[in-house]
Symmetry: C2
Subunit: 223 residues, 2 copies
């Protein structure tokens, strides 16, 4: 029996000025920024609006995060850490490479549900944010310096984890890394398309879903 609220991840310290998990206000910022970004979108989201929503002040939020971009990077790092955790958990004590691949791919491509072990973070909502906003976190002119600062490390770790299992299933396959990144980014995009560009997806049909598409696809590519 696990207690809720006991799941925590270490986040790159350069992403925040003061640890938001260390205070009530900080946790409120995390919780409600997720809800608010989901509701009005990252572009319309401001610290002023967030302050009003949580009954706090704009300037107080600036003491936790330099700007909303850093906050998005923080939330993203948190998300990918959580995904990595689930991936590692899913392959614990599994020896068969192919089975490992299936489980890991499932974790990284499936529909996300709230994880009750985390009190102030709703993973289902956070997943929607990642789908709609994550690419904005790296599609910037600062990507190279921020990459050097390690802001995308967890994301790349998730992809590398998948790439290693791909290489384990078929050591001759020459594109394990590119294939892994295709799956991770592709899955996010498929979930987006499924909601907004229905004419270019097959997932409207009830018996088809993103996870099984990727599992079947990988089996064919690596056979």
């Amino acid at each position: 029996m696990k207690l809720p609220g006991n799941l925590r991840f270490t986040i790159n310290e350069k992403l925040f000025l003061k640890d938001p998990e260390s205070s009530d206000l900080g946790r409120k910022i995390l919780k409600h920024s997720i809800l608010m970004i989901d509701e009005i979108g990252f572009d319309a989201f401001t610290f002023k609006k967030l302050g009003e929503c949580i009954g706090s002040n704009e300037s107080s939020i600036y003491r936790y995060f330099e700007n909303k971009h850093k906050l998005l990077l923080y939330l993203s790092s948190w998300y990918w850490s959580w995904v990595e955790y689930r991936m590692l958990f899913a392959i614990q004590n599994i020896d068969d490479s192919k089975e490992k691949l299936h489980r890991v791919v499932y974790e990284v491509t499936c529909e996300v549900k709230d994880d009750i072990r985390t009190e102030y973070i709703d993973e289902a909502v956070l997943n929607r944010i990642i789908i709609s906003e994550y690419s904005k976190a790296f599609l910037t002119k600062e990507v190279d310096t921020e990459n050097k600062d390690g802001f995308f490390l967890v994301y790349k770790k998730v992809i590398s984890l998948l790439a290693n299992i791909i290489a384990e299933v078929n050591p001759e396959y020459p594109y394990s890394k590119s294939l892994a990144s295709s799956v991770v980014v592709g899955a996010l995009n498929q979930h987006f398309i499924k909601r907004h560009f229905k004419s270019i997806t097959d997932f409207s049909e009830p018996d088809k879903n993103v996870a099984s598409f990727y599992i079947q696809t990988l089996d064919k590519i690596l056979l």
Copy 2:
């Protein structure tokens, strides 16, 4: 022998206030917005800066485009029209489905070079913009209304064209549309990763490239 500057596409009229191809200033706006967005990024790009750069006035640019988002949609529509044109050209008079697939996938995933038939548009630069900025064009809260207005039609047409050829190669394959969208989006992403996140790509190696990765992958999936 083709004359340069004779390649034109019809763009959704809701994307502009005054046809930029109809005047000197308009063509300057197209040419230099592409160069400027590539240089400083779409986020830092403003009509004021563009005005200064082309020796014109901010307010004059607003007479052509409502805002920079519409300009990005215009440039994107232009780009996808150009890609569609190349795809159709590449499969002219080809009967073999598999050969058609290879050629079409090549067109949609390869490195882009400037097309000299277009005077004021540098496709190589425009391609970089699409790689770095296109997803920002649809990752917005307005995506559904803008989709109804047909702002993403050409993009979806490119994907549908590929999906149809996939279905032609293997009529039993159940995910032709999702696979097609995976390839189109995936290729953009692979080009980005190749430049910025080298640790999760295999394309650093000289004998590997995005186009052949996708061609080989599709062959395996559809066999």
